[in-house]
């Protein structure tokens, strides 16, 4: 109807929008590159006791930079220095070398996980045949557009780790494994080729499902019957089964294996809660933004209210899992398990406990009142805090294992976030322009437009 036309108009208006995004992205990319050198230089002055390591720390973290010093890296890695002091410095040096990589990895994973969470949410809407949400489907589809490029970036980072260009994953280092019986026992699962094959399967599967869902959704616009709707229903159900297994394994592979000695059986759920709430928050923020700009006039406060309910609920769910994992390990105090939290509590106290404030107390208090869930700027504000909180969550998941106590949120972290934020918004808004902003042919669309809580 009229909405299709509005979608087209949007396409025109969004063109300058996206160019801006490109500029922003370039700027942030530039930022990153500009500071890579600074960062490396800093490492130089700060701690360089021996000459052995001097040459090879100039490695920036831009993947485009050619990494010629591979051999030197390997040779310096966990070497057998005689002097204890040297060893210590080298340890810190390695952590600092890891830092930009880890910063990049955290940001890449964070934005990737948002689009993955949105895809899961989208599939749930289809599988549950939800009546309230079809007006938001195009926003969700646009966010999932980042799944493939974001996934490829994460995959490239994993491949680079596999090629020993960085030391994010200690178990990838053959020397470490040689001296570590626990990792040796796990090599049947934790070895580079199998690791990459698994990653390819997850990413390929998700991108494949996303592609089909989106294709059917576009075709549904012109369809006269429900064939594509039924197809999407089945696809969504299939995706959810595939997703919950692969998501769990993904979280073991990409995050838990950073600490190869430690394990937690609810880790997959924990990561899932984080990605789910970030995804829903992003949907809410984007919908409100687009509505403010006048593109989604069919989205009413009740839709925002429902999204805010999800933000509220899943935030509590996240905290529940966080606490379940923390309390059992804290209480039983078994050395092999508790080191994980001791490291986080001693080296990252502000972030570790600050996360509880941003991810739990803040959303709970702000979104508890039913009326506040309808106040758009309240939802936006809470949403931004939740997103920051979940970035910190990923940060605290990844950083202790990769950079240890030498962490700080500095230029590489912020510029990595800016880089991916730019890329994310560019791809998402670009994808928004490709299709009308209101799905047609969905049997629930009328119910959704009239949805009133």
């Amino acid at each position: 109807m009229v909405v299709g036309a509005i979608g087209l108009i949007y396409g025109f208006i969004a063109a300058p929008d996206t160019v801006e995004e490109v500029k922003e992205m370039m700027a942030s990319e530039h930022h990153g590159e500009g500071h890579a050198a600074d960062d490396a230089a800093e490492i130089h002055v700060e701690q360089l006791p021996g000459e052995t390591v001097e040459v090879e720390d100039v490695q920036g973290y831009e993947s485009e930079v050619a990494h010629t010093e591979g051999e030197q890296h390997a040779e310096a890695g966990h070497g057998e220095e005689a002097s204890h002091e040297n060893e210590h410095y080298e340890h810190i040096l390695h952590q600092l070398q890891n830092k930009p990589w880890a910063a990049l990895y955290v940001a890449a994973f964070f934005f990737f996980m948002i689009s993955l969470g949105v895809l899961a949410f989208y599939a749930i809407q289809y599988a549950a045949q939800a009546g309230w949400s079809p007006v938001l489907f195009r926003v969700m589809e646009a966010i999932t557009a980042y799944l493939l490029p974001g996934g490829i970036i994460v995959f490239v980072l994993l491949v680079l780790s596999g090629l020993h260009l960085n030391h994010l994953f200690v178990w990838m280092d053959p020397e470490v494994v040689a001296h570590d019986e626990i990792i040796q026992a796990k090599t049947a699962y934790l070895n580079v080729p199998f690791f990459l094959i698994r990653a390819a399967i997850y990413l390929g599967g998700w991108a494949f499902f996303r592609h089909l869902l989106r294709k059917n959704s576009i075709k549904m616009d012109d369809a006269t019957d429900l064939t594509y709707f039924k197809k999407n229903f089945k696809l969504a159900a299939g995706f959810l089964v595939f997703f919950i297994v692969t998501e769990s394994m993904m979280s073991w592979d990409w995050i838990m294996s950073l600490d190869p000695h430690w394990f937690s059986t609810l880790f997959g759920w924990f990561v899932f809660a984080s990605l789910f709430v970030s995804g829903i928050t992003t949907i809410a923020i984007m919908s409100i933004y687009l509505k403010k700009r006048g593109y989604l006039e069919f989205v009413n406060d009740s839709h925002i209210h429902d999204l805010a309910k999800f933000m509220f609920g899943i935030s509590i769910f996240w905290t529940y899992l966080w606490f379940s994992q923390f309390m059992l390990i804290w209480y039983s105090n078994i050395p092999e398990e508790v080191v994980y939290f001791i490291q986080r509590m001693e080296d990252y106290p502000i972030l570790f406990f600050g996360m509880l404030v941003t991810n739990f107390i803040f959303p709970v208090l702000l979104l508890m009142n039913s009326d506040y869930k309808r106040v758009n700027w309240f939802v936006i504000m809470t949403g931004i805090v939740i997103l920051i909180g979940h970035y910190l969550n990923v940060y605290v998941l990844v950083m202790p294992a990769t950079v240890g106590e030498s962490w700080f949120i500095g230029i590489p972290e912020i510029s990595a976030v800016l880089l991916f934020a730019g890329l994310f918004t560019f791809i998402v808004f670009n994808s928004l322009t490709k299709a009308p902003l209101l799905v047609k042919g969905n049997p629930f669309i009328k119910e959704s437009k009239h949805y009133h809580y």
Binding site: F326, W330, Y331, S332, N333, M368, S370
Partner: protein, 173 residues
Amino acid sequence: MASKVLHAIYRDDDLLLQAVKQIREARYHIGEIYCPFPVHGLDKAMGLAPTRLAITSFLYGLVGLSVAIAMMNFIMIEDWPQDIGGKPSFSFFQNMPAFVPIMFELTVFFAAHLMVITFYMRSRLWPFKSAENPDVRTTDDVFLMEVDAANHNIDDLTDFLYKTGASEIKLIE
């Protein structure tokens, strides 16, 4: 009863909701509606004041939380500190994570139970109270609306109610 009321019976919740809007537009006063199940949006259509039950629930939750904290502090820290699993209970703060489940449960317990009790008291319900609904069919499948006749013409009002879709109308003196 001091004033006359009309009992109009409706057989469908959507019809009822529509009728409520029409009747209020025509400036008649609806005294009460008896439903076999909660009708979504009926409270707003009738123009009832929003419930304050949620606020009481929040306050009860805070009470529950405080009770849990005071109770655990007294039992585990002050009265009888024990060494459990190598964690001596001499400080509330250091043992707090172990008390969180109890704090949570008592918060929920207080909020839920006290809220239900408040609801009963507010609605003047108690065990063995005889039912107030004027027609037993409202516990099965019909909706009954009580409209104040006040000083309106009864016949006009009856006609109007039939037009809004009422299936039976009874005048109660």
